[in-house]
Symmetry: C2
């Protein structure tokens, strides 16, 4: 296991300690617990608070999206494991500004159970909680069963849009409605070339041949829809985008934001090769790119591969997508 770590069981704690030492003006602990991280800037009375959380190993997801115009707090689990309901509840209490909390997270069993328990605890404290689950992974359930899909890199668009809506002092119902619209307009497909190693496990999450790739694989190594011989980047992008486009469907005349996300060890150069082909395919379909995002937005440790996400935009979503945002892991000036 070639990792720059100390004892595997201390990996998450030491990561968070490093993050808090590096960004003391941006992030702090709630309840003196390194698993409960909230914005360090001044709270804004009456602003809807956005809470997220999930397993570690996906930076900048989830913790990296705690900041201005994004989420307000995060609960940090072990690598690829849900954090506890108690920690989620502590975060909710710490970030509530009197306008309620939106639980905005990916559709995974453990996270659902724990966020709902935390919501029950909040109810006893008269903190209003709503939830929106992100379900953007086209490969994880067929059309017609969208609500069963996993949340992957599309989480970023949900944070960006809902976070901007909350900064505009929209109500909890309105922020929820906008987040739901964002999710309903978002589709992602991933491809994995290599597995990653969870530090506490010490061996690869799955095996894959030297000449194979898996299309549709999830960000924890969940099975995809097609294991195939290595294809060219252009071929892979075509397969992925076809699946995405036909699913919503995205149609001639649509404007979209696109996210080409690296899963960990895929160089930025390759993401731009993928963007080149994506631009070409969408142009031919009459779908125009309003704003591209490229880089590592939702990773799987050192997994090689990428995902492509489309978000269909309307005027409301465009305005919120264009709003500035700032965290130690993500900055958007304009």
């Amino acid at each position: 296991m070639k990792k720059l770590i100390n004892k595997p069981e201390n990996f998450v704690k030491e990561t968070i300690e490093g993050i808090l030492l590096a960004h003391p003006n941006d992030l702090k602990m709630a309840n003196d617990n390194f698993r409960c991280i909230v914005r360090a800037d001044e709270k804004k009375s009456g602003k809807v608070a956005i809470a997220t959380g999930g397993g570690s190993g996906h930076l900048p997801t989830f913790l990296g999206y705690v900041g201005y115009g994004l989420a307000d707090g995060v609960t940090v689990g072990n690598v690829f494991a849900s954090p506890s309901a108690e920690c989620m509840y502590e975060v909710d209490k710490a970030i509530d500004n009197g306008a309620g909390v939106l639980h905005l997270y990916g559709n995974y069993g453990g996270d659902i159970m724990n966020f709902r328990m935390a919501a029950d605890l909040c109810e006893m404290d008269d903190i209003k909680v709503s939830e929106v689950m992100v379900t953007d992974d086209v490969a994880s359930a067929p059309k017609g069963s969208e609500s069963k899909r996993r949340g992957v890199a599309g989480l970023f668009f949900a944070y960006k849009i809902a976070g901007a809506a909350a900064e505009k002092m929209y109500s909890l119902d309105k922020v929820k409605e906008i987040a739901e619209k964002t999710v309903s307009y978002t589709r992602t497909m991933g491809v994995a070339l290599t597995p990653c190693i969870v530090p506490e496990v010490g061996k690869p999450t799955f095996t894959i041949g030297e000449n194979e790739m898996e299309i549709g694989m999830g960000i924890h190594g969940e099975p995809g829809i097609n294991r195939t011989e290595l294809k060219t980047c252009d071929e892979v992008v075509e397969i992925m985008l076809n699946k995405i486009v036909e699913d919503l469907p995205y149609v001639n005349g649509d404007e979209v934001a696109i996210l080409i996300n690296g899963l960990g060890s895929t160089p930025k150069e390759e993401l731009y090769v993928a963007y080149r082909k994506s631009h070409d395919i969408l142009k031919n379909l009459g779908i125009s790119i309003y704003r591209p995002y490229l880089g590592e937005f939702a990773t799987s440790m050192e997994m090689a591969g990428m995902s492509i996400t489309l978000l269909k935009l309307d005027d409301e979503l465009k305005e919120l997508l264009d709003a500035p945002a700032y965290s130690p892991f993500f900055q958007q000036l304009k």
Copy 2:
């Protein structure tokens, strides 16, 4: 070779095409040549222009630092190979604002030869050119032979500081002087855990055992100073920082900027574990961190490993480091 690419010989061209399609308001070609990339925003008469360049495969180095408060143009070579003098000359002509051009680049033989030929061509056009070479890699030559050292992740600090100085409309001599001071105050050490594969070569740049790491390795796989069994992150950081600190030396009372740079496939989480230990060591030495940078700033494709860079700061350098900067690959708001 597990890469998301098309024909290896088209890799650089397709990467640049993707970058230009994604960022048309920020970057454009000079002389209709994809190897000559310059800022797309309006030129500022009388501003010193900063030119850089080098081999591909290191994004965001070099092209990623073309932008406001950074460099003005870049010449793009093949992977790990110097671009041509003719292209450098085209970039120089395109970015000159009448105040001269600073060639700011890493100390590699091919780049030196070509940048100096480009400077000769510029002289015939009455474009004034100065040069500063970045030589931050402590492992590549002993103390006393600093000018023989390679340029690695410390390039970032040189761009950031010199770029801010140029935006302040300082003269070419002054920008050069500040860039030289920055280089003289910057030290880097790297560690590699795995090699990378150059697309056109198709095999790893070097071999290394499953239980080995190489301390001091360069960003093209140049030999380091010690191949050793795998150590913990804290042990590696201690070895690297000791080498860095004793070299300048950095001393009690110094303020520094620190850059923990991922070489490609090392997860952000691990960089923060390294930052945690770095913070601890520097604190014990009485050296305070003025500003930390963490992430991928100078990569080696999909190589696993990291580098640590320190930049000693004075009031002048602090002001320039704090200045805003913007490129598609690097944003600093505050």
